[in-house]
């Protein structure tokens, strides 16, 4: 990390006898290059190991859990859809409770923090966290996206969809 091998070589290598064969410079460069790339490769490998996360659907998560109960302690990302009408704000706190599904499995989720604008009923969300012993998914981050951000999703305008959105009721009275 930090100071890399190549910098050091460039600064330190002062020996330059006029007869130094070109092949030598080339070899040195290749060694330096291998060091740089090796370091980068090592960093990539370790950081994938340390920070890589399973990205699972609720069904896949259920399968993993039944195959290996200790999987509970592994942080995962779960991609699913918010069940319409399930979003509840826990009174007195910044907690959201809702359920998500992939059509087959349904999991309750608790998330504490600020939800993005796109977090609405029926939105596709990615929650990051771990499964609690009570069968509730405790999320530390919540990403949401509308079905299509750049082309307005079809659907009945004025449906209940946006009514549950935080901040909606205060301003939007049609």
């Amino acid at each position: 990390m930090g100071r890399s091998p190549a910098t050091v070589i460039l600064l330190v290598d002062n020996d330059f006898s006029p007869a130094a064969p070109m092949a030598k410079a080339r070899t040195k460069f290749l060694v330096g290059g291998a060091l740089v790339l090796g370091t980068a490769g090592y960093l990539m490998a370790t950081s994938i190991k340390d920070t890589g996360m399973y990205y699972l659907t609720p069904t896949e998560l259920a399968n993993k859990l039944s195959a290996d109960p200790t999987f509970r302690n592994t942080g995962v990302k779960m991609g699913a859809r918010v069940v319409a009408g399930s979003i509840q704000r826990v009174p007195g706190g910044k907690e959201y409770a809702f359920t998500v599904t992939d059509g087959a499995r349904v999991y309750p989720v608790i998330y504490r923090g600020i939800a993005p604008d796109t977090f609405t009923d029926g939105a596709d969300v990615v929650v990051e966290g771990r499964m609690g012993p009570d069968g509730t998914f405790h999320a530390t981050t919540l990403l949401a996206k509308c079905a299509s951000r750049y082309e307005n999703a079809p659907g009945q305008p004025g449906s209940q969809k946006y009514k549950q959105t935080p901040g909606y009721k205060a301003g939007a009275r049609a």
Binding site: G32, S148, Y150, N152, P166
Partner: protein, 675 residues
Amino acid sequence: MILVGELALWVALLMAAWSAVASFSGGALGRDDLVTSGRRGLYATWAMVTLASIGLWTALLTHDFSLKYVASNTAANMPKVYVFAAFWGGQAGSMLFWSLILASYSAIAIWSVREKSRDLAPWAAGTLAAILLFFIATTCFKANPYDRLSFIPVDGRGMNPQLQNPGMAIHPPNLYLGYVATAIPFAFAIAALVTRKLDAEWLSIVRRWSLVSWFFLTIGITLGMWWAYVELGWSGYWAWDPVENASLLPWLTGTAFLHSIMIQEKRGMLRKWNVVLVVTTFLLAIFGTFLTRSGIIESVHSFAQSPVGVWFGAFFFTILAATIYFVATRLRDLEAKAELESMVSREAAFLYNNLVLVGIAFSVLWGTLFPVLSEWVRGSKITVGPPFFNTVNVPLGLLLLALTGIGPLIAWRKASTANLKRQFVVPVIVGLGTGALLLAMGMRNFHALVAYTLAGFVSGTIGQEFYKGIGARRVIHGEGVLPAAFRLVARNRRRYGGYIVHAGIVILFSAFAGLAFKKDYDLQLKAGETKELVDPLGHHWKFISQGVSTSETLNRFVTAVGLEVTRDGVPQGIVTSEKRQHFDSNKQPQFEPSTEVGIRTSAALDLYVVLAGVRNETAELRISFNPLVVWVWIGGLVMAIGGLIVMWPQTERRRAPSGYVATLAPATREPAVVR
């Protein structure tokens, strides 16, 4: 006009096909009449695509909702400027927009070389026409903006409010201008490979267009960061999202190419590598489009998934196969004309610069594709996030920053010890001095300290280069400081324009390092309540809530909260953050609510206020202090200005003939100005 446009699109398809066939066969058979016809076919394609584009703009601006594209991307009550920008706001329109830019670039590029490069031009024109054919065909058959609805809706669906932002109106065009410009160097690389004319001629064309691409990508990426920062409300500007990565990748390889091409010009080295970089940059630009259009990678940007993904995949692999064939059959024409002589040379510094840039590109690509790769290999999807990209790219980025300072200081071929001492003393002292000063002031973050030390070092390098250059002019021409500085840059645009780009990089990296000291607070305020917070510089901020208000404008309901802000007791005015709910002409809500961030910018830090929600008249707020953010935009601007200086055609005086033959003769051990 709309009908004319629709017809023109189909005519363009035929013209592009003809141009490709005529140019290729003309080139292969050596028939000038076919070559000329192919060239004219390319101009005709441009004219037709332009007509098709004017037709779509007409449809948008006249609100012809019988077109599906118009109906699903605009609404009658939208501001005109965003109706205009809706041209590239949706999938079908952006495909047409892409064709428009490519056709314009192709026409300009081929027109500018029609007399000079009789060998290369037919093959380049043919390649460009073939690429155009692909884009126009995709537009016609898979994503046609002229598709009609079976009924005529009263109003359109409108545009996502997050896209209704000045940054979003100009960010995609810049990015496209950058992406598409990579096609020209690619076409000339193919032409040079086919004809085996791989020398100075194609290099100068390729260099010019690579600069165009680099310039627009730089602006596009900077604008994209700015848009994300002011519009998305997550208080950051770069999230290593796949779509962001896709725009960074060709920028990285393009930057690598702009450096390695200098080695080829001066020394005749790296000839294979440069061809590979040109092709890779183009492939990455195509890949970026493929990535954002195919839905293969989970992205917060989720464009509509669509069938064009398959087409792009096929196109991508066709290009890859063709290039591999041509490079493999022409390896002997690509032999290097010189060898690396010493590790202590500018060549070596540039080689490392290339290695690091490509290394960064590879790691970004790897991280972006890792979910897909891991699913193929291990059966379960594993994602990597910002921690991965930061762990790998922070050290590589710092190494790159160091090389930015080292490269200009070392002589070509082989540097002497005396040269090294004379050149390095000042920059190293400046760098270490900066680091020591910050350490003394209490900065303890390791990466930030390294970053600022290196930033100081690179600043020292750039300052020293300008100081010496200006000094030399003052002695030789007896000029004042400012005229000398101006002429120094004007007469050596490539070199000093490049240094200005480096200065932009220093500013940018310094701003990135500032994020290490970011602070976020979540709080809830009722009207009249007060909260005190301390920013990373130790200033005391006081926020007094003025309560929540609601209002209604043209196409949205607005919920706003105003905060009266004081810093160390000095009033800073009122900062407002809004939640907006857009509605259509029937006042029915559309889209999710969007956030209007309250930002108060200063040179040292941004105050960033987000209204997260309102409950029981209580505003839920996230307040962030983001150090040095304004310098990201300034750094991007400085880089763009530097790029413009480098690109600007040199008219006053002819440059020394480029090419290794001319410059090999005098063994230039020192940079030219010091001599």
